[in-house]
């Protein structure tokens, strides 16, 4: 039941390879309707410059049709998206990593909001950024916030094998193996389970 919550373009070739790798559900930025052996759902990634922009964008998105993720750029947006019920996940990237402090994680824990991280970010991070990433992800895990791992794949060759991804998470971020598995299976699947897709 492997699930990837962040695939950029779900072409037919990518879907074929995802089936081969054992994925059962994908959230894609762009996809075409068709019969495939995988559950596909749309993904909206919002990176608003201000809180007002986030509110305006959220109003326009129909509820229950797509996974809504917010990559906040300022503290106000980060706090708001943590308690807004229309937002499914909050994305921590290398650009907004400094916004994720103990207070942000406390808010996310209170409202049951999962943290989303991308493997593509992990691969391109330098040592300083990786250290920041490590500390924050471990803080989130200690606070029992569900962490979701997405690939950020735009081509089928960037889609990781789940076992390889679990190994990468355990070695790079000291994820317990069980948590690494959960971040690719039940945590992301519970996000898309209630969606119409």
């Amino acid at each position: 039941m492997f699930t990837d919550l962040n695939v950029k373009d779900c072409g037919s070739e990518l879907l074929e390879k995802a089936t081969m790798l054992g994925y059962s559900a994908l959230a894609c930025w762009g996809y075409s309707e068709g019969e495939v052996g995988i559950r596909i759902i749309g993904k909206k990634l919002l990176a608003p410059g201000s809180l007002e922009e986030l509110k305006q964008t959220l109003v326009k998105i129909p509820t229950g049709r797509a996974v809504v993720s917010v990559s906040p750029r300022d503290t106000a947006t980060a706090r708001w998206s943590a308690h807004d019920g229309r937002v499914d996940t909050i994305v921590m990237t290398l650009e907004n990593i400094d916004l994720f402090d103990k207070k942000q994680f406390s808010t996310m824990k209170y409202y049951g909001k999962p943290l989303e991280i991308w493997l593509s970010d992990l691969r391109r991070a330098g040592s300083v950024q990786l250290a920041k990433y490590y500390r924050r992800v471990n803080l989130a895990l200690r606070m029992k916030i569900p962490v979701i791992t997405g690939s950020g794949a735009s081509h089928w060759s960037q889609l990781p094998h789940p076992r390889a991804a679990v190994c990468l998470l355990t070695l790079f971020l000291d994820f317990p193996e069980k948590e690494a598995l959960l971040s690719m299976t039940s945590h992301p699947y519970s996000v898309i389970a209630g969606k119409v897709g």
Partner: protein
């Protein structure tokens, strides 16, 4: 009377065989536990752990035909970038066998670095208009078993 004795003998034989199989199985388990314990004690005492070889069987899903050198170079570069030169030297990953037509191969690596090697398979192999996905199939302790798995799948 004869039938009864034959049945009794057969039952005894089956029970004996079952007992023998169970003993062999549990002896194997005990041996494995003892080996792990010995490794832990040696590690605790600061003794160097004897590196054992592991064979990682993998498959390639490619758009194009990747050569053996391409795969070797990719793994070496990725290993150095992710874990450094010291880890590369200790792990000493070697592509011992590769079937370029079938797109399958076997990597040999130290048992302490199996996870390191598998984690590299998340990095896409992209070179000379050839894009590949590396899929880990199985990790074994002998090359014979690895080759068998490679041919079977």
């Amino acid at each position: 009377m004869v039938e009864e004795i034959a049945t009794l003998l057969a039952t005894l034989l089956i029970a004996q065989a079952a007992l023998l199989a169970t003993t062999v199985y549990y002896l194997g388990r005990v041996r494995k536990v003892l080996r792990v314990w010995k490794t832990l004690v040696e590690k605790e005492r600061g003794k160097p752990v004897k590196p054992r070889k592991r064979y990682v069987v993998f498959a390639l899903a490619c758009s194009g035909n990747p050569s053996r050198e391409m795969v070797e170079k990719h793994v070496e570069n990725a290993f150095t970038a992710y874990y450094g030169r010291a880890a590369l030297a200790k792990a000493s990953p070697q592509l011992v066998f590769m079937d370029e037509k079938a797109g399958r191969g076997v990597y040999r690596v130290s048992h302490l670095y199996v996870k390191h090697l598998i984690s590299l398979f998340t990095a896409p192999l992209e070179a000379e208009e050839c894009k590949c996905l590396i899929i880990p199939l199985k990790t074994t302790g002998t090359l014979k078993k690895a080759l068998k798995i490679m041919e079977k799948k």
